[in-house]
């Protein structure tokens, strides 16, 4: 990329004079003997031509973000892998707008935690029992047992479906899920510590980088 840099040489006006020589810039760095003195800013910018007739009316185009996202602090964007929600109009590769601040209601499409993974389903009440229902007859409902807690991660307020998919989906490399040798990638009970107190090293004290 070629970048134009204004130089300090008198007689060069405007910006499109091509790259300044780096030596010009470096030559401006040398010890100074006095401290700098503040210079008052020029007063008002000077307008050329006429003020805009639209200035009382036009304030900028509307923003998609602002209209779709009601609670920016608690709203996250995630992407969908799979086809189990097609009858809800949610397709593989779609973006979901998920708001954690909303309390899930009967009929909401939600992101829930199932088997230590985030999944998207519709929340349906069967009497007093919440059931996670995929919107595709090829997939089964998930009905929690009486002692199981259903963990809802957030409520899907909407989704974006690509028509022309020019976007790259997913990172090239999978990110580490659990990092230790010989690990399984999910689930399992918490293993009791083998050597309680094994980590008490005198150590070097804290070496916070």
């Amino acid at each position: 990329m070629v970048v134009s840099i204004r130089t300090r040489q008198p007689g060069i006006t405007g910006v499109d004079t091509g790259m300044a020589r780096l030596s010009d810039v470096i030559s401006s760095i040398h010890p100074a003997s006095e401290s700098p003195v503040p210079v008052p800013q020029a007063l008002e910018a000077v307008h050329a031509g006429f003020p805009s007739v639209a200035q009382d009316y036009f304030d900028g185009d509307f923003s998609l973000d602002e209209h779709i996202i009601m609670h920016p602090d608690t709203t996250f964007i995630v992407t969908v892998a799979g086809d189990s929600m097609q009858n809800a109009g949610i397709w593989d590769g779609d973006l979901l707008v998920v708001d954690r601040a909303l309390d899930p209601q009967d009929g909401d499409v939600v992101v829930a935690v199932l088997d230590d993974e985030l999944t998207v389903k519709r929340l349906v009440m069967h009497g007093h029992t919440p059931v996670l229902h995929p919107e595709n007859p090829a997939y089964p409902d998930f009905i929690p047992s009486p002692d199981q807690d259903l963990l809802i991660w957030g409520v899907v307020t909407g989704n974006y479906h690509w028509q022309r998919n020019t976007a790259q989906r997913h990172a090239e490399q999978p990110v580490p899920s659990v990092t230790y040798p010989g690990a399984k990638s999910s689930g399992g009970a918490i293993v009791a510590p083998k050597h309680p107190g094994a980590y008490r090293h005198g150590g070097w004290g804290s070496r916070h980088a």
């Binding site: 990329m1 970048v3 840099i5 204004r6 300090r8 780096l22 810039v25 401006s28 760095i29 010890p31 401290s35 700098p36 503040p38 210079v39 800013q41 609670h71 602090d73 608690t74 996250f76 995630v78 992407t79 892998a81 799979g82 086809d83 189990s84 929600m85 949610i90 973006l95 954690r100 601040a101 230590d116 993974e117 985030l118 999944t119 998207v120 997939y139 991660w153 997913h170 990172a171 490399q173 990110v175 899920s177 659990v178 990092t179 230790y180 999910s186 689930g187 918490i190 510590p193 083998k194 050597h195 094994a198 980590y199 008490r200 090293h201 150590g203 070097w204 070496r207 916070h208 980088a209």
Partner: protein
Amino acid sequence: MPDPRVQEHPIVLADANNFYASCEAVFHPEVAGKPLVVLSNNDGCVVSRSYEAKALGIANGTPWFTIRQEAAYDQVIARSSNYELYGSLSRRMMSIMSGFLPGQEVYSIDECFMHSPWGSEQTRRIAAVMRRAVLQGVGIPVSIGIAPTKTLAKITNHWAKRHPSSRGVTTWGDLSRDDQGTAVLSSIEIDDVWGIGRRLAKRLRGLGIRQAAQLRDQDPVNMRRRFSVQLERTILELRGIPCIADDSDATGDKRDCQILCSRMFGTPILGEEGLRQAASVYAQYACRRLQRQHSLCTRVSVFCASSPFSKHDQYSSVCGSILLQDPSDDPVIISAAARQALHGRITPSVRYVRAGVMLTGLVDAASYGTLPALGAQTDPGLSEVFEQVARRFGPAHVGIGFAGIRGDGRNNDGTGAAWAMRREMLSSRCTTRWDEMPVVRAD
């Protein structure tokens, strides 16, 4: 019956529990409830632990390489510090809380003070709702301490974390109900009092002042004469008299005196060329911060040091400084100065492990004109172009020198230099990188 010690306008301190470790669990339910540690820069030391990792006895500050084997055996999950994620979740958490109580001062990435205009009990009710809102809204558990002063709010939280308290919200009134808090203050070591550093704590211990209750009982005027006005204020705060003023610098990231960017290298650097590259990259990070706070700098200093733990080399540190002819925020000028600063001072055979760039002599950009003949050498728009490119394509696609060369793989795309910081166990940057967005399953 109303509590006679109901405080008007208490201070509220909200402090996330095991913040980095908690952030790692938000988008990864597979690590929730398991022992997890987060490592410092270069995957060096443990800086945060989940409750389960604490229960195994892993201490903060433990070098990772000394416990790596046992950690594998106990299935402890390790993660590199994912600053992008932590910064993002922190901003959301602080924003949610600012909607509940006024006068928020963000003190660090995981704690903030707020000033409640209501009495102690009403504040407790609001704090409980606020805590649930943060837990539901961003998945981060916070502990809340409510007290007449900031120093006591810190002590309240500190005590509550050691004694699992009522639903995450504790007031100083709860802890000082019968004895003006003497029992609790006697259990707090002098080092743990806010504002007492290691050296001051040592001097106080020399006078027989070993815990907070003893400090509270000292004569404030006498202590001001012997030590400093800050210590007097701390004593008054321990007595419930608020006098530590709002730190207006703490409500933002603005620095008045200096901007420092200092990092350890992933691998040691030998020779001047590598150090010049590093100085240039760090200078550009510092320059971005300078521009964000609308300041200019007049002096660029660079320092570098070898390892104090090395068995082969003696510890050596070098620094150099360049005074700019005019105040500037131009990254070309500042990084050129940073590259020059150490010239001729580097010993070729020494392995340097850390370097830093410091910008000082900060002045407000608005007080300088942009007339070329006098005043400042301001950035003609280069940084803005760099930022636009970064927003669209990611970091390190364009920059001055090595700052414009990306590394391979998602862990190294900060800069491609061989000395770049190691972060081998970095989790996804779920809210800041489009290509690392969380994936939810529909299958």
